[in-house]
């Protein structure tokens, strides 16, 4: 019995392996050196996208320029075996030498960037403030004592130190005087100023001490400013938001020393008739929100700041804003008396909470809908002491 071997079929040669992709500079798609074109070809994307990214990274901290330089040095030309060649480098060790050179260049550039950043930070955040402080101290001491910044460096530094100390004393006294005038009654502020004046008069006869003039002026002028603007600390410091839900919950007076005071009457269901509300804010931002079917008559008195009541604005120093409006029968009217020392009074129907400043539970009251005071039938806004527009 013959054994027959089955005929073997002729085998086809194995297919060629796919060509290995190489990251190399393009010789056809190039604007400068072909780096971006080569990267785009390697990634299979449009070269324009790579170029846009490179330019963007260059302007955002300079990383794009650094990476471009590294790619230029490390990526070979299209069709060549080794990395890119630097001018003047060739031979068998060229590839390794160029790679090391590229790394060295990148390191030097990175160190230079970091060095510049450190120098800039030192100059901008340390040396410049110190220099400014020394000059301010010398100037303050010159004004206070009449001694010019002359002599040895030690002497100049000593006078600068004395001047800086004097400025710190002035700052502390100004803060103390302002706080005392705002926290106490008006007589307290006046007593502070009179006391400072009395000390100077006594010093003028007893022992000349001109350096006392600046601290005394700081104390007195800060207290006088607080008194003249009507700043008080009644009501505390911080943010206060009131949202009465019935007419009975609406207070006759809302007050705050420093901060943001928000009175939202949109859910208060005010009945027809007049409702007097007094707003007293020392320093900060006051916001009053009313329903669109409520007429608002605003009488605001602001030391330094502005009032924005629907479509009328007024701002400046000693602002008196009198928006006397009348309401038709059956329409509720809020008669608002605002008294602000330094700050801004906003009276509107709606607030926009979709501004970028909104985050978490904290609401920003910076953007409002410009609706008119349309529930009123007559009246006109009159402003004194500031500049603005009346609608």
């Amino acid at each position: 019995m013959d054994e027959q071997t089955p005929p073997t079929e002729p085998q086809s040669p194995p297919p060629d392996p796919p060509p290995q992709r190489r990251l190399e500079r393009s010789s056809t798609d190039r604007m400068l050196t072909g780096v971006c074109g080569g990267i785009a070809k390697y990634l299979g994307v449009d070269a324009t996208i790579v170029r846009i990214v490179a330019v963007g990274l260059t302007f955002l901290g300079g990383a794009g320029a650094l990476l471009y330089l590294a790619a230029l040095l490390l990526m070979p030309e299209e069709g060549q075996p080794g990395p890119g060649r630097l001018p003047g480098l060739s031979g068998g060790e060229g590839g390794r030498t160029q790679a090391l050179t590229a790394l060295a260049v990148i390191a030097i550039v990175a160190i230079a960037f970091a060095g510049l950043a450190i120098i800039g930070a030192v100059v901008g955040w340390i040396l410049f403030p110190i220099a400014f402080l020394v000059v301010a101290g010398l100037f303050a001491w010159w004004i206070a004592s009449g001694e010019r910044p002359a002599g040895s460096p030690t002497e100049i530094l000593k006078r600068a130190g004395l001047g800086i100390g004097l400025l710190l004393i002035c700052l502390a006294l100004a803060a103390g005087g302002a706080w005392a005038a705002a926290a106490g009654s008006g007589a307290v502020g006046a007593a502070l100023v009179i006391g400072a004046g009395a000390v100077l008069v006594v010093a003028a006869f007893a022992r000349p001490a001109r350096w006392l003039i600046m601290p005394a002026l700081s104390l007195a002028l800060a207290a006088a400013f607080v008194m003249a603007t009507g700043i008080t600390l009644d009501g505390g410091v911080g943010q206060r938001e009131y949202r009465p839900t019935t007419a009975n919950d609406v207070r006759d007076k809302y007050e705050l020393g420093i901060g943001e005071l928000v009175v939202d009457l949109r859910e208060a269901h005010l009945p027809p008739g007049d409702r007097h509300i007094e707003l007293d804010l020392g320093v900060g931002h006051a916001v009053v929100l009313v329903p669109e079917d409520v007429c608002v008559a605003t009488d605001a008195d602001i030391g330094v700041g502005a009032v924005d009541s629907f479509d009328s604005e007024n701002g400046g120093i000693d602002v008196e804003h009198d928006d006397a409006r009348t309401a038709p029968a059956g329409t509720p009217r809020v008669i608002l008396k605002g008294d602000l020392g330094v700050g801004m009074l906003d009276v509107h129907h709606n607030v926009r909470h979709d501004s970028p400043g909104d985050w978490g539970d904290h609401r920003e009251y910076n953007s409002f809908d410009d609706g008119g005071n349309d529930a009123c039938v007559g009246g006109e806004a009159r402003a004194h002491g500031g500049g603005g527009r009346n609608g």
Partner: protein
């Protein structure tokens, strides 16, 4: 031995008197005798500082 009266330091005296006047105005304002606003206070304060600087400059010339 003759005792001589000591001359006051003029800039310090001017500053003290200016503050006494300013304090008096603020006291009147706090008692509602006058109404002192920032628009009136600012020129008064500037005048006081100017008087002090003037006195200081003149006294250095002596």
């Amino acid at each position: 031995m003759v005792a001589t009266a000591r001359r006051p330091d003029v800039p310090t005296l001017v500053a003290g008197l200016a503050l006494l006047v300013l304090g008096g105005l603020l006291l009147l304002d706090s008692q509602d005798a006058i109404e002192l606003r920032l628009g009136a206070l600012a020129p008064i304060a500037c005048a006081a500082v100017g008087a002090i600087l003037l006195a200081s400059g003149l006294s250095r010339r002596d």
